[in-house]
Symmetry: C2
Subunit: 137 residues, 2 copies
Amino acid sequence: MSKRTVALLKEHGINPSSQRVRIYDYLVATEDHPTVDDIYAELQREGHLFSRATVYNTVNLFLKKGLIRAVRVEAKEMRFDASPGFHAHFKCESCGSVLDIPMDEPIPDDPDGLEYHGTSVIFSGLCRDCQKRKHSG
Amino acid sequence: MSKRTVALLKEHGINPSSQRVRIYDYLVATEDHPTVDDIYAELQREGHLFSRATVYNTVNLFLKKGLIRAVRVEAKEMRFDASPGFHAHFKCESCGSVLDIPMDEPIPDDPDGLEYHGTSVIFSGLCRDCQKRKHSG
DNA sequence: TTATGACTTTATAATCATTATAAAGTCATA
DNA sequence: TATGACTTTATAATGATTATAAAGTCATAA
């Protein structure tokens, strides 16, 4: 129950219930862009009694308040990202893991009068482990 | 029933049935990155008797053979893109339309030993029409 | 203390794009 | 015209997410 998280949630107009604080703490602690089910499974493992619906409600609230970002690297699953600043994502086609890739936000050369709000860059390929696995297996 | 399409499908090892040729022709003719339902609706409108399953089968076959690309700009819907060469996409948050944005493929500065296969860049914001609509409405 | 009311969480059902399955149709070739 | 491989089709199944409404929580006022 991090005091810093409580303050941060309040700053964003979010009532810091214990579930919300716990979910946010997990999101910032983990690096691997969890899905709703990842979050749900981890909280269960820790012995918390959570409903999957609460996880959905909470991440949607965080998204609406701009606290986290959604990353859709997989066909179906939505993943979440609490790390600040622009960065790209890399999705391993073999093991499905998702990594952050530091990178400047690309600027389109196109002067088409569009109003740009957000940018998403997703690379795909093979991570180091899966390259090794391919060559040895 | 384009002769060029028939040849192209054959080159890619795809038996050019009339449905497949028609769907490919529609994909290259349209610029707005149709969904499966867009394709299905257009073919119905033209009086063809198609099943939705055929559209799914066909676009999945095209994807597997590398004839088209999938673009997932929206939360749920998969859209398709037959235009060649790298380009980014822009999704209007208001009307949902998807535009091509000419752009060089970004190269990650990260030397992490990853094996890169593909890149997807999606911008979001407001298209020109929706900006006007916002200011006048 | 107890009542009030707003907000949270929960369980359950509903939605909806997509995939799986298996039957029916097509078509070239023997 | 029989065979067999490939296509299309209708239908059911899947699975992530959202909607709904009941139950729980918690601060504050009487």
